[in-house]
Amino acid sequence: MKAKVLHLLSFCRFKNRKDMNILVVDDEKDIQPLFEQRFRKEIKNGEINFVFAYSGEEALECLQDYKHEAVLILSDINMPGMSGFELLDKIKQKNHKPPPVVMMITAYGDDENYKQAMQLGADDFLTKPVDFADLKEKIKNING
């Protein structure tokens, strides 16, 4: 357990505080190489720094230890254990300042999911497959 936490902590550390830090939460581990390659140029140029968590619980631990660093949180909704909604609720209740932007990403783009996400205070709602051109545009807007 201790080893796992240590691993988690080192893993959660954001590289550079000046970068735009984005926390991606998804139980699919291959989301990491996908994002790293989709944002290859941005990462190389030092514009964006990604951190990945594979469950809601992991994401919360990341945020607890390095609270104000994540500017944007991209979270899946359907995950074993803590769901994306629970995570969203917890993040929004913690009152980080400035509050991080939370975008929910789900394979189920139905009304019910959308409404619940909005009700819990999500800033945006994206459906899988993620349109990366669109996502990049949105990230630029946050930066701007």
């Binding site: 996908l34 989709r38 074993p80 803590m82 497959p129």
Partner: protein
């Protein structure tokens, strides 16, 4: 006969009368003899006639007896015919009944087969959303990694023209990694489609070496996402504890998959019911507290034992009563409300494990709460 009776008397009378007329002296002298002889012939006559009468009477008796016997025989014959008709009638009736019963039996068998098939299809229906989700994810990866790779190839060309060997190598490494990811996720989707087809298909019944851990993991995901897609409020912590020492074992994969899926679906149902129950009992404020005291948890574990492999599926749900434990493997017995369960899942699972695989399916209440189902398969 009458001749024999009357002849002595006639002869004696004639002789005596002739003697009286012709030799009167002689007659007078021997008159008593003549008288005696006549008397004897009369006695003879009477005796013969009597015996005649007796014989006639006996013959008559015999005739009547025979007549009676004939009558009885005739009556018996008539009765026999009647009986035979009756028997034929009854036989026809019974044959008809037997045919009807056979017909009903074959109809019942057909219905049972249909029920089993519809049970399979129903469980497939439960899976549909999970399957869609589970296929969508790998497909997204396949699409994404393919797109990225196309872009990377353009970059690679540029870097090659620049002669930047360091960057060229980095990109080719990425490309290789991407292609591996594409293969991995393609196979994953393939596996899900195959599992789905296997699940709906009538079993071929052939045993093949199967990775029990992979099978358990696959059905765990399918069951979870299936339920999750149907019921948005549902959530559970999934725990897995797979024993890597298990090598492939010979089972009918779709059948064992069906058992695992059934046990998992039941487990998820049990924990979601318990959660609903608790939510109902608690006041609204309590249930909205940050830390809910109850975490629905489903654990699937495998273990290699001596000559056996054990698959355990535990939940911390509402549990089952001792009375229910007795009946739980009976066909059509269900604790779910009507419309929610066919009552065939566990009885089918029991058949599959015990009859088709020579294993055991056990159920026990966990200490504290919930239920554990254990599938034991011989290696």
């Amino acid at each position: 006969m009458y001749l024999l009776a009357f002849a002595p008397y006639v002869v004696v009378s004639i002789i005596s009368d002739l003697a009286q007329v012709i030799v009167t002296d002689f007659y007078n002298r021997w008159e008593s003899y003549f008288g005696n002889t006549l008397m004897l012939s009369i006695i003879w006559l009477v005796a013969i006639l009597f015996s005649q009468y007796r014989q006639q009477k006996a013959a008559e008796k015999e005739r009547i007896k025979r007549q009676k016997e004939d009558e009885i025989n005739r009556a018996i014959a008539i009765r026999k015919v009647e009986l035979e008709e009756l028997v034929a009638e009854r036989t026809a009736e019974i044959t008809k009944q037997k045919e009807e019963l056979e017909q009903t039996l074959s109809e019942l068998k057909a219905t049972q087969t249909q029920l089993i098939q519809s049970e399979k299809m129903a469980s497939l229906g439960e899976l549909t959303a999970g399957i869609a989700h589970e296929i969508q994810n790998p497909l997204n990866f396949v699409n994404n990694f393919s797109e990225i790779s196309t872009e990377l190839l353009d970059e690679l060309k540029e870097e090659m023209q620049k002669g930047n060997s360091e960057e060229t190598e980095a990109i080719t490494n990425d490309l290789k990694q991407n292609l591996e990811k594409i293969i991995h996720h393609g196979k994953r989707a393939d596996g899900i489609v195959k599992a789905m087809l296997q699940h709906s298909r009538s079993s071929s019944g052939t045993k093949e070496p199967t990775d029990i851990n992979a099978l358990a993991d696959e059905y765990l995901r399918l069951a979870y996402h299936g339920l999750r897609a149907k019921d948005k409020s549902f959530n559970a912590t999934l725990k897995t504890d797979f024993d890597d020492a298990i090598s492939k074992i010979d089972v009918v994969p779709q059948e064992i998959g069906r058992v695992v899926l059934n046990l998992l679906t039941n487990a998820f149902y049990a924990v979601s019911e318990k959660k609903k129950q608790l939510a109902k009992n608690l006041p609204a404020e309590e249930s909205q507290k940050e830390q809910s005291p109850y975490t629905p948890t489903v654990l699937i574990s495998t273990k290699k034992l001596n000559g056996k492999v054990e698959i355990k599926i535990s939940d911390n749900g509402k549990g089952i009563s001792e009375a229910e434990v007795e009946k739980i493997f009976q066909p059509f017995y269900t604790t779910k409300p009507s419309g929610k369960g066919t009552g065939l899942g566990l009885s089918m699972s029991y058949e599959i494990v015990t009859k088709e695989h020579g294993g055991q399916l056990k159920v026990e209440n966990n200490e504290g709460e919930g239920v554990t189902f254990t599938v034991i398969l011989p290696v």
